[in-house]
Amino acid sequence: MFLQHLLNGIVIGGIYAMVALGYSMVYGVLQIVNWAHADVLMFGTFIGLILTGLGLPVWAMVIIAASFTAVLGMSVEKIAYRPIKSANRKMAVLVSALGMSTFLQNLAQLIFGSSTKPFGAIEKENYQIGTIMFSNMQVIILIITAIMLIILYIIVYKSKMGVAMRACSVSIENAKLMGINTNRIISMTFGIGAFMAGIAGVLIGTYYSAVYPTMGYLLGMKAFAAAILGGIGSISGAVAGGFVIGIIESLGAGYISSGYRDAYAFIVMIIILVIRPSGIFGAKHIDKV
């Protein structure tokens, strides 16, 4: 039973990791929490649902839905974060992000209805090795997660844009002085994060075969807990945190109580914040005057 729970945890953890990356990258560059991230993900999943209804092949559906999510993520930054120039910027951005999240969630409810819709893009098949049951969906999730993480690694650590991105996360002002178009980089960061989220959304939608307007809320919060656990702003931390949260949740639901399945991530997060607020991989942040 233990291995079974572990496998389920790793699969769901991969999805959390992909969503957590979006939070972590945006936080690294801008020091803000993109509250609308999870709702952007939800919109992307609905687009995937619609495209599947149109009869598109799965790979095209995933790419188009993720691209749409990326564009939406970038527009959210342009509309809700960039124009804010209040003296107390941090609070204003937080409220604005929250407003954007509420707006997207309820807009989806108006457009698509609030009921849960089945999402069967991929035919499900179950296999068994020894006592462990697994489905083709789980294998696909693990493979796509691995591919996406490798692509992200190449973008961030090997490409020119990645260098610029990391420069921005050290200091936006200095990056500007080095001739980096910071607005473009910020936009790209949101775009990449949302692209990953779009893929994660489609995957989790098919995995549970459920798409609904509030699906982003819990998923996003758990992913954020993962980002905090790994140390927000750190890419490897977000990935590790995602897997840890996924495994803890799966084991907790299996061995303690399944009624509190959604609570474990938050409890872990609160404990981490008490013991080590900068997370496992995070650098210690010192407030300067």
Binding site: A92, G259, D262, I270
Partner: protein, 347 residues
């Protein structure tokens, strides 16, 4: 746009004389007192009582968000905790409402302080996430701990409170009860705003390092502001329980927290009239525009974004401290956030 801005500026500068002010106050007081006699519709009265409840909640949340600067997204948890503790004490132990109420308030205030402890060292966004996460854990507890809370079914038939043998029941009695609560809250917040304690809380909010240099312990003020705000929410929660006559976990969901936050932010941070205005507008308008009710949350969300871009202080910001703020802004050389990039790092 220009004209509206001019008009708005004029409105802001208009100073009422003390005489007109007191006349207006007396008129408003009379209207509030006679309200149940003029309005016979039970539904309208219910909407007004809801307005009062939300105004009280917004004031208590504003104490945490506006005055103390801790962005709490789990306020509904304190509201719900007050309601549940009060109700459970009344139904299980047959306790008098007022005793149960006080225990509920003290319990919740202590709990709020406990919840605030891990967030003391953290910055804005973390506080928001921790409180939100906790609100979710609390809701899950209410739904799952069937032995204590009766789970998703909720607790029906909460008994009416009695004062000196008189039972408070019916809309009119509750109207006056809510009115007394609201007036009490306003008086309390006014006293708080002008007290040394309130000043200290605001100083800590502006800059906790500078506050430490002045000999104020930021932890103490953040913690007590959180506890007081939580206790106030529990007070409203207890009233809500007896007024509604039944409570269920669905009344204490995340959306409810968001609603309170939007009332606080749209009305005006750290502003008493702003909080009341925000609560009244966002409670009464959707009731009046029933046909638009499905668009309500969409409009709330959009309004929050637009407000933050154009008027981050809310509809009725803290006018009183405008003068000092101008000085503060001039000193820092910050105008319309030109310098916000360097400030962002420091916050």
């Amino acid at each position: 746009m220009g004209k509206i801005k001019e008009l708005y500026g004029k409105l802001g500068k208009t100073k009422l004389s003390n005489k007109t002010k007191s006349i207006l106050m007396i008129l408003a007081g009379l209207a509030a007192l006679l309200c149940p006699f003029i309005i016979t519709s039970k539904y309208t009265l219910h909407v007004i009582i809801s307005c009062f409840i939300y105004a009280c909640l917004t004031l208590s949340l504003n104490l945490i968000i506006g005055w103390s600067g801790q962005f709490s997204l789990g306020h509904v948890c304190f509201f719900g905790m007050g309601a549940y503790v009060t109700t459970l004490l009344m139904t299980n132990f047959g306790m008098n409402f007022f005793f149960a109420w006080i225990i509920g308030i003290v319990f919740t205030a202590g709990f709020a302080a406990l919840l605030c402890l891990p967030t003391l060292k953290l910055r804005g966004d973390y506080i928001a996430v921790v409180t939100l996460g906790f609100g979710e854990v609390f809701r899950l507890f209410l739904t799952n701990a069937v032995d204590i809370t009766r789970g998703p079914a909720g607790i029906p038939s909460v008994p009416d409170p009695t004062v000196f043998g008189l039972e408070i029941s019916g809309k009119t009695a509750y109207y006056y009860f809510a009115l007394i609560l609201l007036i009490g809250f306003i008086v309390f917040m006014k006293r708080f705003n002008n007290s040394g304690f309130g000043m200290a809380v605001m100083t800590v909010n502006e800059d906790d390092i500078a506050a430490t240099a002045l000999g104020l312990d930021p932890r103490k003020y953040k913690l007590s502001a959180f506890a007081i705000g939580g206790g106030m929410a529990a007070l409203v929660g207890g009233f809500y329980a007896v007024y509604m006559g039944m409570i269920a976990p669905t009344s204490f969901s995340y959306a409810e927290s968001i609603k309170m936050v939007s009332m606080t932010v749209l009305g005006g941070m750290a502003s008493i009239p702003g909080s009341i205005l925000g609560a009244f507008l966002l409670t009464a308008l959707p009731e009046m525009l029933r046909s638009f009710s499905e668009y309500r949350m969409v409009i709330y969300g959009a309004a929050m974004v637009i407000m933050m871009i154009f008027k981050p202080d809310g509809i009725w910001g803290r006018n009183k401290r405008r003068k000092n703020e101008y000085k503060y802004v001039a000193m820092r050389g910050v105008k319309n956030g030109e310098n916000s990039a360097s400030k962002k790092r420091n916050n």
